[in-house]
Amino acid sequence: MTHSMRAPLLLGLVIALLVGTGLVQGWNATLTILNYGLISAIMALGVNLQWGFAGLFNVGIMGFVALGGLAAVLISMPPVPEAWNAGGVHILGGLALGAATIVAAVMAFNRMAKGWPRGIAVVAILLIGFFVFRSVFDVGVDLVESVNPAGTGYLGGLNFGMQNYREWGWMTIIAWPVGGLLAAGAAWIIGKTALGLRSDYLAIATLGIAEIIIAVLKNEDWLSRGVKNVSGLPRPVPYETDLQQDPAFVERAASFGLDPTMASTLYTKMGYAVLFAIFLAVLLWMAQRALHSPWGRMMRAIRDNEVAAAAMGKDVTGRHLQIFILGSAIVGIAGAMMTTLDGQLTPGTYQPLRFTFLIWVMVIVGGSGNNFGAVLGGMLIWWLWVQVEPMGLALMGLITSGMADGSFMKGHLIDAAAHMRLLTMGVILLLVLRFSPRGLVPER
């Protein structure tokens, strides 16, 4: 089989799987899988940029996804004026003091002569700054969180619509690129410290930042309500209930032979799918252009031989920083889209196995270094991730069918079917790495 045929064939397989799901499990389920699959494809595209183009090993994808989700809340939710009046000044002032402390410490480090007085000065600035920051900031946090803690208890977002924020749902789309910006900022901090060192250090640093971002989202209630979750995010697509009230829509649905409830659900999900597909197409086009530009060739030259590229005068660490930020930004965009689709930000559900390592399986299986491969791998692995659980249950049902009802082994095996996913993904990853290390659609 020639390489040029592989991408269309894989695309055909993905379409066939989705259509098959639609025929067996219903179109509603298919559209749900499709929507998350499109988002997964965008994440895989971002990771492929880092790994496939530059050979950078990022295991903090979960953190960038979560930052995107945070952006969705901060842009699309309405502000809470009472909270801003109560503690907004303290929070902003505290954050400014914290930033000033870091700037002062960096300046002291750069300006003072090397030696122990510099070390003491920097540590002293950081310590004093930390206590000043906490003394101002904590007051604000208490004030903000005490404003209607059951309903809001946070500062809210930037939606100008205020009470009518649901009608300003298009603002959610603005949140997607903003999610990319937040992720890019975090990536800059990590890249500045860990790039240029051994490759595994970047991996460990990204692993750490992801855990910290999740910890911040879980604990900083003033920012996004922590584990109390923010739900009811406005949508860029119509609400099902509004559609069902609309006589014209109900009539059109009836002409297709659908009842209004089902029709409105499908319509909303299709709306999301179109939006996501547009974003995916634009990002994919940009990634392809980048890959075939002189910049893309330079990236691959650096990836294949850093020493030679450096000898040719390429700034290896600088280019790595660039592409690391770009890739993380794409992941951030996808994260914001996912939170929009969920309609809520739930920091407790971010699991590294689901959000970091699954994306890695998608990229490796799809074909690292090939954008189409990453995108199709994302769709394919997502479909599998969703379907392995029912398959596992069916398998366990078959295995245990001979056992007595209520026996320990039977109950245990059926409970354990839910964990088949991880096992399957691990085995798939190992098999692809061993027998087809360049992935299903290899780099040309």
Binding site: H419, L430, R434
Partner: protein, 336 residues
């Protein structure tokens, strides 16, 4: 008297837990560092190796308990430990044979091996969840305390009590024994010396007739022993939960890098540095300072630098500082 009270409070809430946690991290970091030194990759499956070993220990412990075998005042899990190490060792040798050996023969780049270890991590994580589930499992039995807080108060006449849990004592004693045996092995025995030679210079070691497969095999067995011991001690001290063990990966890596990855002494020092920093920064110092400072200066708040939810941030910040200022770690790494 106030000074003694402050000291006892500090010992009770910071020093004793820090020592125990540090010993657990040090054992974990030793495993990571050994794999790095001999097999030359960062093993992301290490946290799940610990979970696998602990799971084996729990299953054997349950077996012993069902048979009515106990270890007197000590936890039964200690009796189960050798069996668990053997099971984990066999499992790790199996993964090496099925997975890692292929890439070693190819001389694959380290980062490929790291990704392969991700795959192994998935499989191990799935297996552990499959066999024992995701819930919290406590498997400590035997005597709970070496010294109880009340006994200590009555004995010393101080206001503050000092409690040392049996598991904390066992952790520190076991860790010291394991480390002593490991260093004796690496420095005195022929196999240990060949491991160090292999780590220093692979080509030279091969030229002098060292069998690489044997070195790798011994390494996996030692790693199985270290990971299982670390996991069982952590589980005894706290409790067993598959996901918590996965999360231990970050402090363990931080410990190994802070000490200088590939350097066993560094791994031990790094483990204690991370553990004490974590415990000290997340512990509210109000009581200690209340005893030490005159009344007018006594703090009104809790004087807790960071809430305990941010304990990952502590290892992470230490990691970043080390990467920025001393990427080779406190002790020069890269060889054992």
């Amino acid at each position: 008297m106030d000074f003694l009270n402050a000291l006892v409070t500090l010992a009770n809430f910071v020093i004793v837990p820090g020592l125990a946690y540090g010993a657990q991290l040090a054992l974990g970091a030793l495993g990571v560092t050994l794999i790095y030194a001999i097999l030359r990759f960062s093993n992301f499956a290490h946290g799940d190796t610990m979970a696998f070993g602990t799971m084996a220990a729990i299953l054997v412990t349950w077996g012993f308990q069902a048979l009515g075998i106990s270890f007197g005042p000590l936890p039964t899990a200690l009796l189960a430990l050798p069996f668990a190490i053997a099971i984990t060792g066999v499992f790790l040798l199996g993964t090496d044979r099925v997975v890692y050996r292929f890439y070693r023969a190819q001389k694959a780049k380290p980062v490929i091996l790291v990704i392969v270890s991700l795959g192994v991590m998935f499989v191990m994580n799935g297996l552990v969840r499959f066999i024992i589930g995701v819930g919290d499992i406590g498997f400590t039995d035997g005597e709970r305390f070496i010294i109880g807080a009340r006994d200590f108060r009555e004995w010393s006449g101080l206001d503050e009590g000092l409690a040392i849990k049996t598991t904390q004592g066992i952790t520190v004693v076991t860790a010291v024994i394991v480390m002593a045996v490991l260093f004796w092995f690496l420095n005195k025995t022929r196999t240990g010396k060949s491991m160090r030679a292999f780590s220093d210079n692979e080509d030279l070691a091969l030229l002098s007739g060292i069998n690489p497969e044997k070195v790798v095999m011994v390494t996996w067995l030692i790693v199985a022993a270290l990971a299982t011991t670390a996991g069982v001690l952590y589980g005894l001290d706290k409790s067993f939960k598959a996901f918590t063990y996965f999360q231990l990966l970050l402090p363990i890596f931080a410990a190994a890098i802070v000490g200088g990855i590939g350097n066993p002494v560094g791994a031990i020092v790094g483990g204690f540095v991370i553990a004490f920093a974590e415990v000290l920064i997340t512990y509210p110092l109000k009581k200690v300072l209340g005893y030490l400072l005159p009344e007018s200066l006594a703090p009104s708040g809790l004087v807790q630098l960071l809430s305990t939810d941010y304990k990952f941030a502590v290892s992470f910040v230490i990691l970043l500082v080390v990467l920025l200022f001393r990427p080779t770690g406190l002790f020069k790494g890269q060889s054992i």
